[in-house]
Amino acid sequence: MSLAEETSTTAMALKNRNLLLGGALTAVFLGAALLSFLWVPYDVTQLDIANKIKGPSAAHWLGTDHYGRDILAMIMVGARTSIAVAVVAVGIGMLAGVPLGLWAAARRGSLLDEVIMRGNDLVFAFPSLVIAVMITAAFGPSATNAIIAIGIFNIPVFARITRSGALTLWSRDFILAARVAGKGSARISFEHILPNVLNLLIVQGTIQFSLGILAEAGLSYVGLGAQPPIPSWGRMLADSQTFISFAPHMALFPGLAILLTVLGLNLMGDGLRDLFDPKLRRGRT
């Protein structure tokens, strides 16, 4: 029975086109980022002004940019930046948001719950991009500040989803059983609630991850993200803007990199949701 159930999960995962395609795209970019630590076609800190703005060729598969840097290498190293920013921003959101959500759910209906949720609403009410601009304007543009700005807006997202997931769990009998066993709400939250909202968090984490990549690209595009010489997809796009009419490859490839990565993550998120969704797995009843 156990084996059967597991194979059916694997089988479902394999049948899930979203998950496969999304996972593959994500893997490509994760792979590119990892590979860039070991090998890149060209050093992205070395400028080669003589070879600037060259279209794709055998020497430079995706061409060169306005300083003669290799665009493939820039995209590979840029993937590192995007992924690092998104991962840490999602991490900040989870580390702060999940406990808040668990706490609010454990004290559901109380003043504390109300304060946490209203606080969430308030953060949501702030225009995130504007605040990100303000944070980076105040503390200087950098990848770190971009992370903080994006991370702050991830907190209420995770708090909210954790709370709503936890609330349905709190009405379940196994929570009652744990309470009968004398366990306190903190312990129940971590022992019973957290593992059961993990699916939700993974799915949401994937989505926020992709949003983080888009946000980083947007911030870098307006010059508030990672600073040179660290390559970043958004800044590559910003740099390429004035060249777009005669060297479209400079804008095309980083744009596609963002598009495909975000697409991959979103597809994967959808696929995971399908995989985890109890509605589709109600075989047992």
Binding site: D121, L122, P127, V130, Q241, S245, L263, K279
Partner: protein
Amino acid sequence: MLRYTLTRFLSLCLSLAVASVVIFFAIEVLPGDPASIMLGVNAQPDTLAALRTELGLDQPMVARYFAWVTGLLQGDFGISYTYRTPVAQMIADRLAVSLPLALFSLALTVVIAFPVGIWAASRRGSVSDVSIMGLTQLGVAIPNFWFAMLMVLVFAINLQWFSAGGFAGWDAGLLAVLKSLTLPAIALALPQASILARVMRSALLDTLSEDFIRTARAKGLTRRQALWRHALRNALIPVLTIIGMQFSFLLAGGIIIENVFYLPGLGRLIFQAISARDLVVVESVVMLLVFAVILVNFLVELAYAAVDPRLRAR
């Protein structure tokens, strides 16, 4: 209903009060002295001091907060440090661009998303459903400023159908306004429409799996009738929530798109104001945006009650 409305309204006021404190003090800690930025490279210390007094920057922070809030309540947003004109007027001028743009793109969003979402939900699993959903995935993933760049290249520079940017002003006529707002509105609407279409579809599918749809079908309603008469309104609550969030996003989120199309909107105003440390403007615009979001949320919640009799009863 009255109670529901009033409690919502009270929470709206409270949120605004908290937001005003957060905004004011957060912005006041921004490094950079507005006076020295205005006077530039060769300013003399005595000149600077004179200007600081003139701008009221020598007052203590708390006093300035209360002056600011009192002003806001009376509709007086203060005087811009850099432009030396009333902030309210500046915001009104910028809203004349940002609001139509937000509404235009929201309208586009809804006009695209509703039929697409309903179509996909009613043909769940079909080839058209799968391909439409694939397209919306692309729409969600595409960075809108990149899309805007490509559109400018094709439609403004190569085909010259639309303006590459700028805003001629309402005096120039509706055609001119449409010419300058169409591309930005499309760039803003595309990802939002994709998101909304997906929400619409999944909300509909959720509703379609509810028991009362089965009841309706047992009465003899066709699948289509059940969808239009019973599912759609029930699916509206999540959709309304998203529309509310999107409007707020569109109002503020044009910041990058306004830069691409050099539209003199709120987003660019705030960008300029932050660079120039024009704190009064930054505070007021952020406050306005937060107010808009909170107000829209309030209206959305009232709209829930209009849709759902269970909330009306409260």
